[in-house]
């Protein structure tokens, strides 16, 4: 009997403990914390939190005309010829690569071909903007930009959680200014409030607290389009960084960097409560000084836009997203432009010096972006409809790097590793590969793509690096398992077999394989050559495999054009 009592008593104690642990766990993960309630109140009171309704295509017409005018005027002043517009398939491939990270499927092409030609690009764009592939692909691209690719501190930094949250942000087309404010003012735990991971990504270099130095560097590059990193250690004595008033620039000072960093010292780590707001608490020993001095939080230009009162990071966020902070708007546009083209408008996506004139298209787009409620999808629509985006990458005249630099032709840009993986996987399937595909297909796509990207060489957060191809990459493409599996005449899965079994004749085979792999029809010479290859062999399935291998190994597949 006493044993029974002991067991009952122990069970009761353990039950209480389990209940307590369960409650604590629920408290942390379910958003019941004080910060979560505050966040929710703020959201419901803020009309900006509502998803933006899709803009009607016609609404962007005036903006597109203005951009085209800037483009034309710029090319005329440079004395550069411009190429003709590209055909709709080339433009749609660019859109797919930019928004979902791979080329079009044959299924998508066939659906678009049912429409009148002038409608195809617009319909394809709208399809992509509503496609979960877009939300997730951009979430990964923006994660690289916002928090990098490093693993960060175990437990406290959850990059995957951050990426999924960003996908939700893109799915509802949240206003860009609201996104920026959420990142800069984040409070709580990274599991509960994913935006906090913008801060916890830097915990590994500052002993478990937000690292003001890294956050200042990240903020200046990402949200301001300025590289002021060198000011961390010294004043700018080379004339590289000019700050202050855009019309009356001054030399960048070491104080500029550390005053910006000071805002982030108000992000205090508070145990299980995560990041909490506190006071600015920052001192620094400047170069050639004997002692550390207290550093006040301030901004490197347009100080009149910085609110005098409020939580420090809230003040910074208000300043960054102020409609009159055109530099911050230019930084946002610069990033979206680079994602669309695969390369920045100027020399670098995050280097838009205050004292140097930027391309008139960038200014026009920035003004348009602010005046239309920081609407990212509208910005994408305007860029996608512009002549600069739609112009051909070939021309009758001799194309020089100057033509590419000025966007007189669409620039040739090397695909990123995951774009190559996505493109070859998509090319091997007739239908679109997405979350509606069979689980088996999704599994082999995911594992195959991950292994491929690892071997191909992920370029990390260096988003717009356009290095030439390497020997490793060519070996992987020519002899690697993934491409071999995708090219294989597999009746269950692959384009090669489906085309071989169902195409009307060899000419149809060649056309279809070209559409799947390169998203274009073959030229007459190409068609004749490969039709002959298929017709002159006893093993036509091998000839189709060979054709697909050739196209997947081409420059044309590996480059955006």
């Amino acid at each position: 009997m006493s044993n029974l009592k002991k067991i009952a008593s122990a069970s009761l104690r353990w039950s209480w403990l389990a209940l307590l642990v369960l409650f604590a766990f629920g408290y942390l993960v379910s958003g019941l914390s004080e910060q979560a309630r505050r966040g929710k109140r703020r959201s419901s009171a803020d009309s900006e939190s509502r998803p933006i309704a899709n803009a009607v295509h016609g609404e962007t017409r005036g903006s597109v005309e203005q951009i085209d005018e800037d483009w034309n005027r710029s090319l005329t002043s440079l004395g550069l010829e411009r190429a003709d517009s590209a055909n709709w398939l080339a433009v749609c491939r660019r859109l797919s690569l930019a928004l979902v990270g791979n080329g079009l499927s044959l299924e998508e092409i066939r659906v678009l071909e049912q429409l009148e030609e002038p409608q195809r690009e617009r319909v394809h764009l709208e399809n992509l903007l509503g496609d979960p592939r877009f939300h997730h692909y951009w979430a990964e691209r923006w994660s690289r930009f916002l928090v990098g690719t490093d693993g960060g501190q175990f437990i406290l930094y959850r990059r995957r959680r951050f990426r999924i949250w960003l996908a939700e942000v893109f799915a509802v087309n949240e206003r860009y200014d609201r996104l920026v404010r959420e990142l800069l003012t984040a409070e709580g735990l990274g599991t509960d409030k994913p935006q906090v991971n913008f801060l916890t990504a830097t915990f590994d270099s500052n002993d478990g607290s937000a690292d003001p130095i890294r956050l200042a560097a990240r903020t200046s590059r990402v949200f301001l389009g300025l590289r002021i990193d060198c000011l961390q250690c010294h004043n700018d004595f080379l004339g590289n960084v000019n700050l202050g008033d855009a019309d009356n620039p001054r030399e960048g000072l070491q104080t500029d960097f550390h005053q910006l960093a000071a805002f982030f010292t108000s992000a205090k780590t508070s145990g299980l409560q995560g990041v909490r707001n506190g006071e600015v608490d920052y001192s620094y020993k400047y170069l050639d000084e004997e002692q550390e001095t207290d550093v006040e939080a301030s901004v490197p230009f347009l100080p009149e836009l910085l609110p005098e009162n409020g939580e420090p990071r809230q003040r910074l966020a208000t300043w960054v997203t102020h409609p009159r902070n055109q530099q911050a708007a230019r930084a946002a546009v610069s990033h979206v432009w680079a994602l669309m083209f695969g390369r920045p408008m100027g020399d670098a996506v995050d280097n838009l010096p205050l004292d140097e004139p930027c391309h008139p298209m960038l200014n026009t787009l920035a003004e348009d972006f602010v005046s239309h409620g920081f609407n990212l999808r509208r910005l994408i629509r305007v860029i996608a409809a512009s002549q600069a985006f739609r112009v051909d990458s070939r021309a009758e005249f001799e194309i020089t790097p100057e033509h590419e630099h000025a966007f007189a032709v669409f620039p040739l840009v090397r695909l990123r590793p995951e774009q190559v993986a996505g493109s070859i996987i998509q090319a091997a399937r007739i239908k679109k590969t997405d979350r509606d595909s069979s689980l088996f297909l999704q599994l082999i796509t995911l594992t195959g793509a991950n292994d491929f990207v690892t071997q191909y060489g992920d370029i990390g957060e260096d988003e717009f690096n356009s290095d030439s191809i390497t020997i490793t990459q060519r070996l992987l493409m020519m002899n690697g398992n993934l491409l071999g599996d995708l090219v294989d005449f597999n009746p269950l899965l692959n384009t090669s077999a489906h085309v071989g079994m169902f195409a009307r004749d060899s000419s149809h085979v060649v056309e279809t394989v070209y559409l799947c792999a390169l998203n274009r029809y073959p030229t007459t010479v190409e068609k004749q050559h490969f039709v002959s290859r298929i017709d002159c062999t006893e093993n036509s399935s091998e000839a189709i495999e060979d054709l697909l291998w050739v196209l997947l190994n081409s420059s044309e597949l590996a480059w955006n054009h």
Partner: protein, 442 residues
């Protein structure tokens, strides 16, 4: 067909001659025909000499996870923090190392030890970046690792990649701002074939694919595009030719350690790391400039002595055999061996009998290529005060990671102070440290 008549036959001839040369040289000949590289390696074995004009190369034995200095090259037995490790005498009079490295101890007359390396990075990812590049992580720039810097400074070529990472772990050498062309070529256990080097279809069919690619598809892609698009932008055909050359190169045999005598294989240890170290020495002989071989298992937060002992069992034969082989083959004058990890481990032993991360005084071994033999630079205290405000107080002659890089580059004959330019025009020295003169030959 007309398009075939317009083909660039000379270019294709080059490629195809490479494609067929390997066949002639005995691939599949069942060992009856000895390849040129095998003959060369055998000849060098007999003669004990190699080309005197050989460019300088580096083999990095990368101990990933943070090897304990106290269980490897800087033991303090009997002290407060010595743990269970005893010392063993070495071939250098007065120099003791941990008894977990008995075979290495016999080769210490070939090497120098730096026992006072310090850094400010105690996190694996950041510390690895720091010690592989010589720079602390910078969100605005990716620095090149040592192998990339060397290959960039001296472009002497080989059919096989010049920068190679064997069993690459989490952090193979990267080209950083020098570009992906300087990334390490990754291979895994040399017991397995080099990845993606073998055609998946018959040779004639493969050659036909390449011909169609070049003559039909690539020529169409170039039409109307950027002037000299291949030469000035894509380098697609150039890289493809290089890959084809590699597929048919005699130098590929250097990856294959199975041709080595059984006793040689045994001397390096029956592990991927041992085979990697052996492959590294073969690759250096045929023109590779930097080969890094990774050995994990050093992150001993729990049961430190057991984990470090286990890792040392793999390190010891490989390191000792590598030094001996390089010396015997007259390669040590032109080959630098660097052996170390991203940081050391705490003097204090934690409640789980582990040691944690410790960047305030750890050890790196260097040998060959102008490094003094049998020298030791710096020291750590046997009974350190562990003042967190001044962690370097316990270190004699501390050096930084950047100093280590300056020493390595100097040894390799690379101007460590030369300024390179990043893609955005930012001037950047190869290295910001100063060479450790006490371990460099006068």
């Amino acid at each position: 067909m007309a398009i075939l008549d317009q083909s660039n036959s000379s270019r294709l001839c080059d490629v195809q001659s490479h494609l067929s040369r390997r066949t002639l040289l005995g691939a599949g000949a069942g060992g009856l025909m000895m390849s040129a590289i095998a003959r060369r390696l055998a000849w060098a074995d007999d003669q004990g000499v190699t080309d005197p004009a050989r460019p300088k190369s580096v083999i990095l034995l990368w101990l990933e996870g943070g090897p304990s200095q106290l269980e490897t090259f800087d033991p303090h037995p009997g002290g407060v923090y010595g743990g269970d490790t005893a010392t063993i005498g070495t071939s250098v009079k007065g120099l003791d190392i941990a008894d977990l490295l008995p075979r290495t101890a016999e080769q210490m007359h070939l090497a120098s030890l730096v026992r006072s390396v310090t850094s400010k990075e105690g996190d694996h990812e950041r510390a690895v970046y720091n010690i592989k590049t010589g720079y602390r992580p910078d969100p605005t720039l990716k620095h090149p690792s040592l192998g990339a810097v060397l290959c960039h400074a001296d472009q002497a070529g080989a059919d096989i990649p010049r920068h190679i990472s064997i069993v690459p772990g989490n952090s193979p050498g990267r080209g950083g701002y020098l570009g992906a062309a300087y990334d390490a070529f990754k291979i895994y256990d040399p017991a397995r074939p080099v990845p993606d080097i073998r055609r998946s279809v018959a040779e004639a069919r493969f050659d036909q694919r390449v011909t169609d690619l070049y003559d039909v598809v690539e020529s169409e892609f170039r039409r109307g595009r950027l002037k000299q698009v291949e030469k000035t932008r894509t380098l697609h055909q150039t890289a493809t030719n290089a890959a084809l050359n590699m597929m048919s190169s005699e130098q590929l045999d250097a990856f294959d350690v199975s041709v080595e005598p059984e006793e040689v294989l045994e001397s390096f240890g029956d592990t991927a790391f041992g085979r990697g170290a052996l492959a590294a020495s073969r690759l250096i002989e045929v023109g590779a400039r930097c080969v890094e071989v990774t050995l994990g298992g050093w992150d001993s937060h729990l049961t430190n002595h057991s984990l470090q002992s286990s890792a040392c069992e793999k390190l010891d034969p490989a390191l000792a055999a590598l030094l001996k082989r390089l010396e015997e083959r007259d390669l040590l004058d032109s080959t630098l061996v660097v052996c170390g990890g991203e940081f050391g481990r705490t003097p204090g032993i934690n409640p789980a009998e582990g040691r944690d991360h410790w960047p305030h005084g750890f050890s790196t071994l260097l040998a060959g290529c102008g490094i003094r033999k049998g020298a030791v630079h710096g020291a750590t205290a046997a009974n350190p005060k562990l003042n967190s405000d001044d962690p370097l107080a316990d270190i004699v002659d501390p050096v930084t990671v950047a100093d280590l890089h300056a020493t390595v580059l100097t040894s390799l004959g690379v101007d460590y102070q030369e300024e390179l330019e990043t893609p955005v025009g930012r001037p950047m020295k190869r290295c910001e440290g100063k060479p450790i003169q006490s371990i460099l030959d006068a």
